[in-house]
């Protein structure tokens, strides 16, 4: 459900002294797939930034485009059938989409760690989790087996896996779904996100529909989709009534609804939502005070966040 792009807190050989922009910046990224049913528009103009040491969690359901965005950034997108018709992925200002394979490979893994949470299958079942995590450090930083193992433990601790030291030699099947999620961070569990991320971008049908610092998103969502998602999680501390469920299904990416892609499922939809695509606009307090880092792509974000 989430991809977390963790910019390297692992220090790289080159310091950022000569560069003061964002560590990672994704600009107007588009990804499409040619399928028998037509062109599936998986990513439709995604923008975000990640600064040094920051963890961005990208939240979205299957088909939201979160994993495809991540694959495009890491340069592991299968092309064809995938295609990137537009967009830039800037690492320290350099476009990774146009640089050579070798150069990109060095950045990937060493400078940007991507933790995929739904990719239960992305771990090899016959190799220990520690070995697979450590591989990243062996290949990219040339660390010894022992050093790589220590790094793997560190990473497992960072994503809050209990008893990381003892569990580093375990195999993927020995991790519960929840823990495996923590490792490869794409989760069904919004609670995990709240634990490890600094900021969240919520994706729906290939677009970012809301951005916010973690705690603010949970406390005051500014997009009806985010609010629906949060309301549909049962609570541990009280017995609820019937769960809120967002009606309908996510759209077919070859036939994304016009206007706001969420409009057929949205309880707040008006005529404008069926005709005009809402842009990701800054979200403010009722009195106009700036809310740093917050944005919503909803024509009615004011009504959503301020009631």
């Amino acid at each position: 459900m989430t991809t977390t792009a963790k910019t390297a807190t692992v220090p790289g050989p080159r310091a950022a002294a000569d560069y003061d922009g964002h560590l990672l910046e994704v600009r107007d990224l588009h990804v499409e797939f040619h399928t028998r049913d037509g062109v599936a528009k998986a990513v439709n103009g995604v923008n975000y930034t990640v600064d040094a040491g920051e963890t961005l969690a990208v939240l979205g359901e299957s088909g939201s485009g979160k994993s495809v965005t991540a694959q495009a950034i890491m340069g592991i997108l299968d092309m064809p059938p995938g295609r990137i018709p537009q967009g830039e992925v800037l690492f320290r200002g350099q476009d990774m989409l146009t640089m050579g394979k070798e150069e990109r490979r060095k950045i990937r893994g060493q400078k940007i760690a991507m933790i995929f949470q739904d990719a239960l299958s992305s771990l090899n079942p016959v190799l220990s989790v520690g070995y697979q995590l450590g591989e990243m450090f062996r290949v990219h930083q040339g660390l010894s087996k022992k050093e790589a193992k220590a790094k793997a433990i560190e990473l497992m601790e960072r994503v809050k896996i209990p008893a990381a030291k003892e569990r580093v030699n375990d195999y993927p099947h020995q991790f519960s779904g929840g823990m495996r999620m923590g490792l490869i961070l794409i989760t069904h569990d919004l609670g995990v996100v709240a634990d490890v991320a600094d900021k969240i971008a919520v994706m729906y049908a290939g677009r970012i529909v809301e951005t916010a610092p973690v705690h603010e998103l949970y406390a005051r969502p500014a997009h009806p989709y985010t609010r629906g998602l949060l309301d549909s999680i049962p609570r541990l501390d009280q017995k609820g009534q019937e769960l809120y469920a967002i009606k309908g299904l996510p759209p077919n990416l070859t036939r994304i609804p016009s206007g706001c892609a969420f409009n057929p499922r949205c309880p707040m939809a008006q005529d404008i939502c069926r005709t005009e695509v809402p842009t990701l606009a800054p979200v403010t307090e009722q009195d106009g005070t700036d809310l740093p880092g917050r944005g919503s792509a909803c024509h009615f974000w004011k009504e959503t966040i301020h009631g």
Partner: protein, 382 residues
């Protein structure tokens, strides 16, 4: 230490066979009559007693010799009441899925009994076993792999009728399948489609429709929503609750997601290493847990809402889950327990209402297998 054991009040001990209304040595027809008789709401429909499943560990190729056993389920007892949902939680490897297979008679129990309306189904065969199997159905975790991709939805949902033709005569099956599709919220016109034409949530609805086909009384659900997206998960959970009321079903709901289990369950059992650590109503287990393992498990659940996160204590367990082939002596949880004392290594705690709470009018007075059972609220903000 040893004489403490003698003070254990026998009446408080784990329910045993003596409290089951057993249908003794039934003939085939008697067994079938008992199995098909209705059970009042709130009466036990399934009574599990001292159930054990050991998987032998063998060595050698030609001359296999048993060198040990994985004690997947090692003596558990519980009741499932008509019309209720009993949640079973625990980490992977605690034996909860093996319990599901034993109840489905997909595995043969090493020892112990599973009484279904008073008849021990572990001893049944032939016609009587078939009658039981019709009444206990299962919904599986992964809607992507549990449906045969080469069969149409109509064939998948209608397949149980091939084995139990008495439920729906051949000419009536198509109509019955379309009815089932409608019941689970799918368009009856989809009957000729294949699984790949459906989303994950829709596939799980197909799995549920198939589980309902034979009008069962009990549905064993093994992680039925954990592979689904959050918004779809809510739809399927709501559907399952609706169907329970509509068809008077009893659910055994096995899952690792403690929030979902709380939402759907009337009672909850917590398993650890093949044993039941604690069992009680959802309020007793979540708001008044007395077993240290339950407390640790609950405290480790990440809570999304920042307001509820503040002030929550997290209990981090040390050490690994021990191997079920060689579980610790005494209390199995003692190797990871912060309360463990000498007694815990020598004396196995029974699943019973702890002595200090017996006869007291407190939600802490529920069955817990701990020598030092003590209430601790780990779910609510301090």
């Amino acid at each position: 230490m040893a004489d403490l054991a003698k003070n254990e009040p026998a009446a408080e001990a784990t329910p045993n066979v003596s409290d089951v209304d057993v249908v003794a040595d039934p003939t085939k027809d008697e067994a079938i009559a008992a199995i098909t008789a209705p059970v009042e709401r709130g009466e036990p429909i399934l009574q599990v007693r001292n159930l054990v499943k050991h998987f032998p560990l063998t060595q050698g190729i030609l001359f296999k010799k048993q060198i040990g056993a994985v004690k997947a389920v090692d003596g558990i007892s519980f009741d499932l009441y008509q019309g209720e949902t009993l949640g079973i939680v625990g980490e992977s490897g605690c034996g909860k899925s093996t319990v599901a297979k034993l109840l489905m008679t997909l595995e043969t129990a090493t020892s112990g009994e599973v009484f279904y309306k008073g008849t021990d189904i572990t001893k049944l065969s032939g016609r009587a076993l078939k009658a039981v199997r019709r009444n206990i159905q299962m919904v599986f975790q992964d809607p992507y792999t549990s449906l045969n991709p080469r069969m149409t939805v109509g064939d998948i949902i209608g397949e149980p009728f091939e084995i139990h033709p008495e439920v729906a005569p051949k000419g009536d099956r198509r109509r019955r399948v379309q009815e089932l599709l409608d019941v689970v919220g799918l368009n009856p016109e989809y009957i000729n489609r294949y699984p790949h034409q459906f989303s994950g949530g829709q596939r799980q609805r197909i799995g549920i429709a198939r589980g309902l086909a034979l009008n069962p009384e009990i549905i064993v659900c093994d992680e039925p929503v954990s592979a689904l997206d959050v918004s779809v998960q809510a739809q399927v959970v709501n559907l399952m609750e609706k169907l329970q009321d509509e068809f008077n079903l009893s659910y055994l709901f096995i899952a690792h997601d403690l929030s979902i289990v709380r939402h759907i369950s009337d009672r909850v059992g917590v398993m650890y290493l093949g044993k039941m650590a604690e069992i009680g109503s959802d309020e007793q287990i979540y708001d008044h847990p007395t077993h240290p393992y339950t407390q640790a498990l609950l405290s480790a659940v990440p809570v999304p809402d920042p307001a509820s996160r503040e002030g929550r204590e997290r209990i981090i367990l040390t050490g690994d889950v021990p191997s079920p082939a060689n579980p610790p002596s005494g209390c199995r949880f003692r190797t990871r327990c912060w309360k463990a004392e000498e007694r815990c290594a020598t004396e196995e705690p029974l699943l019973a209402v702890p002595q200090r709470f017996t006869g007291k009018d407190t939600p802490a007075a529920h069955e817990s297998a701990c020598h030092f059972a003590e209430e601790k609220d780990v779910v609510h903000a301090a």
